[in-house]
């Protein structure tokens, strides 16, 4: 019988602000038993980190716990003094934070950062603590622990650092482990490895885990129970099976509907975005907090705040109308039918053998010739794109996808290669490109905060390309700005707002409107949705698809988010270490994946459906440095399907399989396809072909 470790009852957390006290988390109860991984899911601003900090009593100075009780085992945490709390921290409750690069002290050796915890809490001697540190490093599967113990944070990769943080957290064998978005800052491949590690460790230890994340796929992969937090309140809670299958709250359904699926794409469905946004804590609606965005809302919902009710053996919902919801069955995305586009359209972009080498700061050598080192960020990539199609580029961070896009755009001067737009050869530098070329190619950047001038109203950002690239007069500009705001679904009065008055998603809409203002033939989208919440992502993806449909613009869509790429792209190019490894239509590349790298990427992707069985192919280590590219096939150091010496010595050949589908691998394509068996996913019911 697992014992109850954390029992937090009716927590209400209040922040003192200029506008008066704000209850950011209201009436939340959490119970977590030993050996259980409780997933707390919510979008940004839902109060999930605040809740975690309230539980460990580490709120910022202006925050306090207005109501509630917190028990850790039999200890009433609220009765403890600050000094007593310090003994609980690190001993009985430990935490793993989001950004591993920031959470480890850069000036203290790794081993010492583990050892100091056991010295403090378990009264180990120096020697014992050192041994314990090594033991923990081994437990989190770090090779060569002695060497790693003597390193500093900057010498380790993000994935390694996250293991170290987990080692620190587990060293004292705590009763409760709180993980706050522990894999969000990592690549999908590294994330998969860390999630496996967490799962394995939790089988070894008997710790209760509070796992905070925004990613439903991650919850489905590692958690036992899940609580869905929205605007500071729990909407639904239950076992992972209960919540993902039955979804007794419209918000949970909404969130799941927002996540693109790997089996269908924009041609078949449009994502079900949740309209509106999370209410701010000072503007909460009087009734159900989700009511303003809910499809099932009725008058009573707006009047009275519903309480969390146990519906069936531990499955709780805060929706009054769950019975109605039950009768709806599976989340059904809206079907859609896009125009048929001809496959033989004209070429819009052709990039041939594009290379971009960055010189590394030269080293002064007194004797001998200094070897000039280069970072080969993009090393010979060629792609062709036809009108009104989307080409998705995927790969881990540091593989060169952004540099490639910037070379196409002319923001980086390519080192070699040819870039043609509509058959016209372009100069490398954007400064040398004619105005009409600039107009034809536009870019949407990842971070809308940095790409909009904070001093200029949103409308001005959209007006600039109209004036500069299309020579419109003031009156025409005004008209057109209005039309563009309408096209990206922003109200007209937003034209006069400054960027800081807009939410992240709204800013990105302005950025998209600005790109479309130039009436481009090619839009380069560099991770345009990565910094946004799931529900906002879905709305933006739908917007991009709709705009493409009405304006026949071509997109070069760069993302590390495979499901987004899968949803939006007609063609997919897989990039690793500055080279292309596979290119083909989205279906051919992903269902089933063929190249070992694509296969590994896809199998790492957390899918928000606990019933889908994925292959577990994991890549070892991290992407090698682009300064020191492995010989032969550059993927051989991490390839799970390496066949032998040939991989280390010879560059693999390109093989053609099917319709414009090519892969670069030593293993014959037929063999790779055969290895996939029935495909990556064991398709469950209701999955379309």
């Amino acid at each position: 019988m697992p014992k109850k470790v954390l029992d937090a009852r009716n927590l209400t957390v209040t922040y003192r602000t200029e506008k008066g006290p704000l209850d950011t988390v209201r009436n939340v109860s959490l119970k977590i038993c030993s050996g259980e991984i409780y997933g707390l899911v919510g979008e940004s601003g839902s109060g999930k980190s605040t809740l975690a900090r309230a539980i460990v009593r580490y709120l910022p100075e202006n925050g306090f716990l207005k109501e509630g009780e917190i028990y850790l085992g039999d200890t009433d945490l609220l009765s403890l003094s600050k000094a007593q709390m310090r003994r609980v921290w690190g001993g009985r409750i430990t935490m793993v934070h989001q950004d591993p690069n920031a959470a480890i002290n850069p000036s203290v050796m790794i081993g010492e950062q583990i050892a100091e915890v056991v010295r403090t809490h378990l009264q180990y001697s120096k020697k014992e603590a050192k041994d314990k540190a090594l033991e923990m490093l081994i437990r989190v599967r770090i090779a060569d622990p002695e060497a790693v113990a003597r390193r500093y944070a900057h010498q380790l990769s993000g994935g390694m650092l996250q293991r170290v943080l987990i080692a620190i957290a587990m060293a004292t064998n705590p009763e409760l482990l709180i993980m706050d978005e522990p894999t969000t800052a990592l690549d999908v491949t590294t994330e998969a490895v860390i999630l496996d590690l967490i799962g394995d460790l939790m089988r070894e230890y008997d710790t209760a885990v509070l796992y905070i994340t925004h990613n439903l796929g991650v919850v489905a992969r590692v958690c036992n129970r899940v609580g869905v937090l929205y605007a500071g309140e729990i909407m639904e809670e239950g076992s992972v099976g209960q919540v993902f299958k039955n979804k007794l709250h419209p918000y949970t359904r909404g969130l799941l509907g927002c996540v693109p699926r790997v089996d269908v794409n924009k041609k078949d469905i449009s994502l079900k975005a949740i309209p509106g946004f999370i209410p701010r804590p000072d503007e909460l609606p009087p009734g159900c907090v989700f009511a303003p965005r809910c499809e099932l809302v009725e008058e009573a919902c707006r009047k009275e705040r519903p309480l969390l009710k146990d519906i069936e053996s531990g499955h709780l919902t805060a929706c009054r109308r769950y019975e109605v919801l039950k009768s709806y069955g599976e989340v059904i995305a809206d079907q859609r039918q896009l125009h048929e586009r001809t496959e033989s359209g004209e070429l819009v972009l052709e990039a041939r053998n594009v290379k971009k080498y960055f010189p590394v700061a030269g080293r002064l050598r007194l004797f001998g010739k200094s070897k000039r080192q280069e970072i080969k960020a993009v090393d010979d990539i060629s792609i062709r794109m036809r009108h009104s199609f989307t080409m998705g580029i995927v790969g881990e961070s540091g593989c060169g996808k952004t540099t490639f896009a910037r070379c196409i755009m002319g923001l980086e001067k390519a080192t070699a290669g040819e870039i043609e737009l509509e058959g016209e050869l372009l100069p490398y530098s954007v400064a040398k490109r004619p105005r009409d070329t600039l107009r034809k190619m536009q870019m949407v950047f990842q971070n809308p905060d940095a790409s909009l001038n904070p001093q200029h109203p949103a409308g001005e950002a959209v007006a600039r390309p109209l004036k500069l690239l299309r020579n419109m007069n003031n009156k025409a500009v005004q008209e057109r700005v209005k039309e563009l705001f309408e096209a990206v679904n922003l109200p007209e009065d937003y034209i006069y707002r400054l960027p800081h008055e807009l939410s992240g998603g709204e800013k990105q809409r302005v950025a998209i409107a600005r790109a479309f203002a130039a009436d481009p033939v090619l839009m380069i989208c560099d991770e345009p949705i990565s910094s946004l919440d799931v529900s906002v992502q879905a709305a933006l993806m739908n917007l991009l698809v709709d705009l493409q449909e009405s304006k026949s613009t071509s997109y070069l869509f760069i993302s590390h988010d495979l499901s987004a790429v899968r949803h939006l792209s007609d063609w997919i190019a897989v990039v690793y270490l500055g080279r292309l490894w596979e290119i083909g239509s989205a279906e051919d590349v992903f269902v089933p994946p063929c190249h070992p790298y694509t296969e590994a990427l896809l199998s790492a992707l957390p899918i928000p459906d606990p019933d889908i069985k994925q292959e577990s192919i994991r890549l070892r280590g991290s992407v090698p440095s682009a300064m020191d590219i492995p010989s032969g096939c550059r993927f051989h150091t991490r390839c799970p399907r390496k066949i032998g010496e040939i991989c280390e010595k010879e560059e693999p050949p390109w093989q053609s399989i099917g319709y414009y589908h090519q892969i670069c691998c030593h293993i014959p394509a037929e063999e790779l396809q055969a290895l996939q068996g029935e495909g990556l996913l064991q398709k469950g019911e209701g999955m379309a072909e």
């Binding site: 690190g90 002290n105 203290v108 100091e116 500093y152 900057h154 010498q155």
Partner: protein, 315 residues
């Protein structure tokens, strides 16, 4: 690391060469003819012409420069035009005096500034912080002749704790000079303190906000250990740079303070050399000050990189 050092020393050499060219040119532009300065108002044209020839002043400028630069490097810094004695021992002696004052000032203001800065950071926006920040700002802003005169008025004339005048015999040892050093050292410390405290405060505030300090807290480490092991190791790094830059200022830039107390340091020597148009002395003083600035900056960089593992050990 060796590469880094070699490069930095190379840069120092370039700095010194450029500075020597500037110093040489400026001394050439000063009004008045050297020969006339030496021989005085009543010298004959002929006498002046002879002396110019003798001193090599009729040669082209670049030859004069090279000649000067080469003998400077060899250690022959020329004779003072006024006292007709070699310049080098004079400069070195004054440099020693300046170093005594600088050393004492550093001992006072660096530890104190760090302590105050850390306290201010820990009590950010509360009363101790406001007091420390406000007062240290005031002293940074006040010129040294004001703080110096205030100190003389209260501590020397009023309370008679310290001598008001520090015009000691330039050949004094540290022990002999010590009582005379206290007031000038406090005067410069008041200025230096503010810089150190502010730098330490902002560095510490930045570090206190980081994830790794939150993590250290939540590891349950004792508060003192978090401060000394995790916070200060990172937050004092920028302070190192400020301290080293202070050394240059203390050794060559205390013109006002030295004048207020009549202390025979390098700052007063340079003022004297300007007043008396003693070119070799002025050139030597200027070159020494440039060298001190360069070397203390290099020292700052080296210490910084030794303390910062991100630079010390490559990835």
């Amino acid at each position: 690391m060796t590469n880094f050092l070699l490069r930095r020393i190379g840069f120092i050499l370039i700095t010194m060469i450029l500075a020597s060219i500037i110093i040489f040119s400026i001394t050439q532009l000063l009004p008045g003819d050297v020969a006339r300065v030496i021989l005085g108002q009543f010298a004959t044209e002929r006498g002046i012409e002879n002396l110019r020839e003798e001193l090599g002043l009729n040669r082209p400028l670049y030859i004069q420069y090279l000649d000067w630069a080469v003998s400077f490097v060899r250690g022959d810094w020329g004779n003072s035009l006024v006292s007709r004695t070699p310049v080098r021992p004079m400069v070195m002696q004054r440099l020693g005096n300046s170093a005594m004052l600088a050393g004492l000032a550093l001992l006072i203001y660096v530890p104190l500034g760090i302590i105050l800065g850390v306290i201010a950071a820990l009590k950010k926006d509360k009363l101790p912080d406001q007091l420390i920040t406000g007062i240290s700002m005031a002293f940074v802003g006040l010129p040294e002749f004001v703080t110096g005169l205030l100190l003389i008025t209260f501590l020397a004339i009023g309370l008679e704790w310290f001598p008001a005048n520090s015009s000691i015999n330039p050949e004094s040892t540290f022990r002999e000079a010590f009582p005379f050093l206290i007031l000038p050292a406090i005067t410069v410390s008041l200025t230096g303190l503010g810089y150190i405290a502010r730098m330490t405060r902002s560095g510490t505030i930045d570090v206190l906000k980081t994830d790794y300090i939150r993590a250290a807290d939540l590891k349950g480490l004792p508060a003192g250990q978090v401060l000394f092991k995790h916070v200060l190791r990172n937050s004092l790094l920028p302070t190192v740079t400020i301290v080293a830059m202070g050394i240059g200022w203390l050794l060559g830039g205390l013109i006002v303070t030295e004048a207020v107390y009549g202390y025979p340091g390098l700052g007063r020597l340079i003022v004297y050399s300007i007043q008396r148009q003693d070119l070799p002395l002025l050139q030597a003083c200027s070159m020494v000050i440039v060298a001190i600035y360069s070397i203390s900056n290099l020292a700052a960089d080296i210490i910084y990189s030794l303390l910062n593992p991100r630079i010390r050990v490559g990835s």
